[in-house]
């Protein structure tokens, strides 16, 4: 089933006026002022310039509204009504033992951040000399590669949240693997939300660099220490050199009342391979932008995703694969599981630029609705400006297969267990694509636990 669209869409200019989504909430400018007041860090001139520009952009953009195409399914008002302010350094003293429950079963180097602030005592760093540099971003601002790449790949002015992050990020991870090197272990970036204050916002900014031919696996997990209406606003930029291979697995397990807004942006050089996984089960409201730009021939990207939401959760994934050059490939595979009154959003955008002949792009989005009140908005969006390309997309929404349930029951397996087995199978369709075996096994367990809390 090949569906080659060849249309030039002239979408209306996005509404950029600072319309406040939340009538009772603070204005965008007031939020910016609160962040500016707390922003006492000292930054090199190049970064001051970037931050200043982003701050101005945030003011111009204002809060997103559902009138804008990019936000039409996702009402951010519950977040924007909060008294947004930068999360302070938590007064609590965490030990390694406190973190055991966030362990993902992977023997990995680890960086830990609590409410966006770096916790060096809790980290496990690699020995020097194998080409892997790992540390907090603030500690590496003097590195020339940071200046070269930071805020150069992700658009600060994509929306209010990206501009806010760029203008005021507190810290984040810096991971760099030198050309020709393979990281001996995966890197685990652990972001812990601890603040109980409503609106306390952790702004983290991560930079992941892979030199030519380098190989690296990164796990980025977001968890909560205890429940609270706190906010995570995180951006991760990845730059892959020629023939580099990077696997990035984002695991979002925030607390039930928390908010999560994330952007992951990759930039891929010739013949590089990027695999992204986004596993999302947490937060009251989560918005993920997972994006890559295939900037040179022969690059390939795989975007996998699995989201599971119940109760009144909203989990939104907006993906963008930008085919800028010829002979690139992308494969996208997203599964959604929605129970209770949960709302899922999948918006998969594929650009094929005029120059990007011989593009091969494939997108599959499958969604499982487990209750009458669960909802999914699925929107594949292909914008193709080249004429010799292969692009396919498909989105399905369905329920569990009654035939399969009956078959399992005739073998003695109870109805609830039969349903669970099928839901788990649906989830495994994504999890089995994860290249870190121990992580895959752990995520199966995490999901089984999550099924219990969701009453599945």
């Amino acid at each position: 089933m090949i569906d080659t669209l060849k249309e030039r869409k002239t979408s209306p200019a996005p509404e950029r006026a600072g319309v406040t989504a939340a009538a009772d909430g603070p204005e965008a400018q007031a939020v910016l002022d609160a962040f500016a007041k707390a922003d006492t860090g000292r930054f090199p001139a190049w970064l001051r310039e970037i931050r200043g520009a982003a701050r101005a952009q945030a003011g111009q953009l204002g809060f997103p509204t559902m009138g804008q195409e990019e936000w039409r399914f996702t009402n951010m008002a519950p977040l924007l009504q909060l008294p947004l302010h930068p999360a302070e350094k938590a007064p609590l003293k965490l030990t390694r033992r406190d973190l055991e429950r966030f362990d993902l079963g992977v023997d990995a180097h680890r960086l830990v951040f609590v409410d966006g602030h770096f916790c060096p005592d809790l980290c496990s760093l690699p020995e020097k000399g194998n080409g892997l540099k790992l540390g907090n971003l603030l500690g590496n601002l003097a590195a020339p590669e940071v200046e070269k790449h930071l805020a150069r790949h992700a658009q600060a002015d994509a929306n209010f949240f990206t501009a806010l992050n760029t203008a005021f990020f507190q810290d984040g991870a810096f991971v760099s693997i030198a050309a020709g090197q393979a990281a001996p272990k995966p890197v685990h970036l652990l972001f812990i939300g601890a603040s109980a204050q409503a609106g306390a916002t952790a702004l983290s900014r991560n930079l992941i660099l892979a030199g030519s031919g380098a190989r690296l696996k990164v796990i980025e997990s977001h968890v909560g220490l205890s429940d609270g209406a706190r906010v995570t606003n995180t951006m991760t930029e990845l730059a892959l050199g020629p023939e580099a291979e990077v696997e990035h697995c984002k695991v979002q397990q925030e607390s039930a009342s928390a908010f999560h807004v994330a952007t992951v942006q990759a930039a891929q050089a010739k013949d590089s391979r990027w695999t992204s996984h986004s596993i999302a089960t947490g937060a009251r409201l989560a918005r993920n932008q997972i994006q890559t730009r295939l900037e040179a021939e022969g690059a390939s990207a795989i975007l996998n995703g699995l989201f599971l939401a119940d109760a009144d959760q909203l989990i939104d994934h907006h993906t963008v694969v930008d085919h800028a050059k010829p002979h690139c490939e992308s494969h996208e595979f997203y599964h959604g599981i929605l129970a209770g009154r949960a709302h899922g959003v999948f918006n998969g955008k594929i650009f094929v630029r005029q120059d990007a002949q011989k593009t091969n792009a494939k997108q599959t989005n499958r969604n499982l609705l487990l209750s009458d009140n669960a909802m999914i908005d699925a929107k594949p969006q292909l914008e193709i400006f080249a004429d010799d390309v292969k692009c396919t997309h498909g989105a399905t929404v369905g329920q569990l297969n009654d035939e399969a349930i009956y078959y399992l029951r005739t073998r003695g397996i109870g109805l609830a267990q039969a349903r669970r087995m099928l839901i788990q199978a649906f989830a495994s369709g994504v999890l089995e694509r994860i290249g870190i075996e121990a992580l895959r096994a752990r995520l199966e367990e995490v999901l089984a636990e999550r099924f219990k809390t969701a009453g599945i």
Partner: protein
């Protein structure tokens, strides 16, 4: 073991089984034969508990309990097994995980200890040999990508592992070549014991050369119109179903 009295059942208001009665005793093998559309598969599915079929009359007791009130899983746990005519493919559910869960549910219901992984694998090894089943299939998803023959073999393999009291084989011979048929029939025969029973549903007599029934029933238009010994199957094979229809004068009923 199984007592069916005046069973009436249908789907979407259309009657299919009409006053069907049948008794299967422990240790017996019964064959049900009949033309297409006579209700053979409906009988199998009603016994297994498929909810699409509505039972409108009659009783079915299985070892003294009212079968019709039981959920499909409870029927299985009580020792009833249906080998499907069209086994369902279940992508993502591993065959071994599935079968171990099923067996342990059945064992729990029988008051037996659950098997651990090692014990289970021993049992599986034994039974795959019995059915000459490629053990590699068990590392795959349930029935996914199996050939027609592999699916049928897998049904009987599951039966061998679950060790039911009453096995219902619904058109198990369809889609099997003669070699596969011999293997499957051989497996069924080896599982025959004085304390279990088998109900073989088939359109063709061929299977009954290998699984020799004690009693053959002819099902026509939802009721059993003739019962006899194994010779009846041969006669049906030779003369077709028309003479039975004429003999019972059932034409014109539908």
């Amino acid at each position: 073991m199984l007592e069916i009295h005046n069973l009436c059942a249908g789907v979407d208001g259309n009657p299919i089984l009409k006053d069907l009665s049948l008794q299967v005793k422990t240790g017996e093998v019964h064959a049900i034969m009949g033309p297409n559309g006579s209700g053979k598969s409906t009988l199998a599915q009603v016994l297994a508990g498929r909810s699409d079929y509505e039972v409108t009359g009659g009783t079915v007791t299985f070892n003294g309990v009212n079968l019709l009130e039981m959920k499909p899983e409870d029927r299985a746990r009580a020792g009833l097994f249906l080998a499907f005519q069209y086994p369902v493919e279940i992508p993502g559910v591993n065959s071994t995980v599935f079968l171990k869960a099923a067996l342990n549910e059945c064992r729990k219901a029988r008051g037996e200890e659950e098997l651990d992984a090692v014990e289970f694998l021993d049992l599986v090894k034994q039974k795959t040999k019995l059915l000459e089943l490629d053990p590699a299939l068990l590392s795959r998803s349930v029935n996914e990508g199996f050939s027609g023959g592999e699916k049928k073999r897998n049904e009987i393999f599951q039966m061998a592992v679950l060790d039911p009291k009453l096995a219902i084989l619904d058109e198990t011979d369809s889609g099997l070549d003669i070699d596969a048929l011999k293997v499957v029939a051989g497996g069924v025969n080896k599982l025959r014991r004085p304390d279990n029973a088998t109900l073989v549903i088939t359109h063709y007599q061929r299977l009954l050369n290998y699984i020799v029934p004690d009693i053959v029933h002819v099902l026509v238009q939802g009721r059993i119109v003739k019962s006899g010994g194994k010779e009846l199957a041969l006669e049906l094979e030779e003369r077709g179903y028309d003479w039975v229809l004429e003999a019972v004068g059932s034409n014109g009923e539908r």
